[in-house]
Symmetry: C2
Subunit: 236 residues, 2 copies
DNA sequence: GAATATATTCAACGACCGTTGAATCCGTCA
DNA sequence: TGACGGATTCAACGGTCGTTGAATATATTC
């Protein structure tokens, strides 16, 4: 059984789809090209022909949806920004612009998108692939978001914003990994696939977190004279 | 070059140490038994002899430090609880008891512990290993923490606490993955290996998040009559 | 010190890995 | 029709994988 039905979509895309699903489930090394091409109903050699090799296929899968996604997120961020002018947008609105396009597509964009975000979660947590691939494809976007976050947090040191972003990404990443652990843990009370629940809760959660970080920093600064603070910063 | 110096530690432990480091870096499938045994200065066949196989070695690595760790975390939680009696402990104190033993050992417990937490991060995000292994070794602990969190959040629906815990775990997990991405992103302003920075910030962040979730839930409840709320809950 | 149990080494197995080059199919254009 | 070029198939390569069984070394017991 090679194909369920005669499938006239180009083989290149079928390979990408199958690879997306399998890489997301078992990581780069947990999947063989034969697994992928068999799932795609295609000969093994076509991977080398179309992509060059296994690693190139992996990055091709990762890149395919990154561009369109980030463009949409940036546009949404600017829209949020314009709507709030001349004030800075709320932290909730910024956080929402950051993950709303992701949640929307993961929930209603079809199984390919769902797999894709699980793959991004895998890459983001991987010490091997994370630094290279995330930096290359997502850093410009992230830096723009952090800049706007800083506008919304006047007087807050940059370090705090970066840490807040780190925690935000972590929470989001685990959500996309779709391990189903929260479902088991809560006895069915929460379903991690229910991304509308995430949508409602994540923005308030991280916005409050950002405010707490900002408050903590200013409290610490007022407790410490400037010179001592400079020295402490150098020490840490 | 098999060993740097003559090493009289039992081979079984040397294998565990090497496997811990390599599994953490490249995952289960990204490491071969020959990689591990070569790093341990030991013959390949010893893995089958001592552990039975590759999968059994993987779970042995995972289990080795889990017990002692969770016992300490539970004791700390009960201590925090007793100290606050007859009131419930603060959210900050509970969150702190959850991750303080982890951060402490990751920062000052030696390279083995650091690798171990990166491995837990890998497992926690893995759709393949996460549900099985995390559930088996960490669920009793987590349920106890959630129970105490609920005491500290009177009137807060259980769902909200579970979601808050999910976000907390995600933030913690990404921190332990040690991808070094935050370092690059912040231009050296933050070092993700600086776990003291995490220690200071994570508790206020997630405590504020929990309070926001709780407030959001009670606000939503007061907006909705009881019967409609019941229906809405059944729908979702 | 012989016997026994445990630990380690060695060589090899069959299976699967990613990749390759030649052969074949098929639609396009001359 | 025939030549051509991209897409696909097929068979096979060398290498590495996890695992195994027999042989050897080391420690323990009588």
């Amino acid at each position: 059984m090679k194909k369920k039905t005669t499938d006239h979509r180009p083989a290149k895309e079928r390979i990408l789809d199958a690879a997306e699903q399998l890489f997301a489930r078992r990581g780069f090394y947990g999947v063989s090209l034969r697994d992928i091409t068999q799932a795609a109903g295609v000969d093994v050699a076509l991977v080398s022909y179309h992509f060059g090799g296994k690693r190139e296929l992996f990055t091709a899968v990762f890149e395919r949806r990154a561009e369109v996604l980030n463009r949409e997120r940036l546009e949404l961020l600017e829209e949020v920004r314009r709507a709030a002018l001349p004030a800075a947008p709320s932290l909730e609105a910024i956080a929402n612009a950051f993950f709303e396009p992701l949640l929307e597509r993961s929930a209603r964009g079809g199984p390919g998108w769902k797999s894709y975000f699980a793959l991004v979660a895998y890459v983001n947590n991987s010490p091997e692939f994370g630094p290279v691939m995330m930096t290359r494809h997502f850093d410009p976007l992230v830096e723009r978001f952090i800049a706007v976050l800083r506008e919304a947090l006047p007087g807050c040191p940059a370090r705090e914003v970066y840490w807040g972003y780190q925690f935000l990404t972590g929470a989001l990443t685990l959500t996309f990994a779709e391990t189903g652990r929260l479902d088991k843990l809560s006895g069915g009370l929460c379903r991690s696939s229910d991304l509308d629940s995430v949508r409602e809760r994540l923005a308030p959660y991280v916005a409050a977190g950002f405010r707490a970080l900002s408050a903590r920093a200013t409290a610490a600064a007022s407790r410490t004279p400037v010179r001592a603070a400079r020295k402490a910063r150098r020490r840490s």
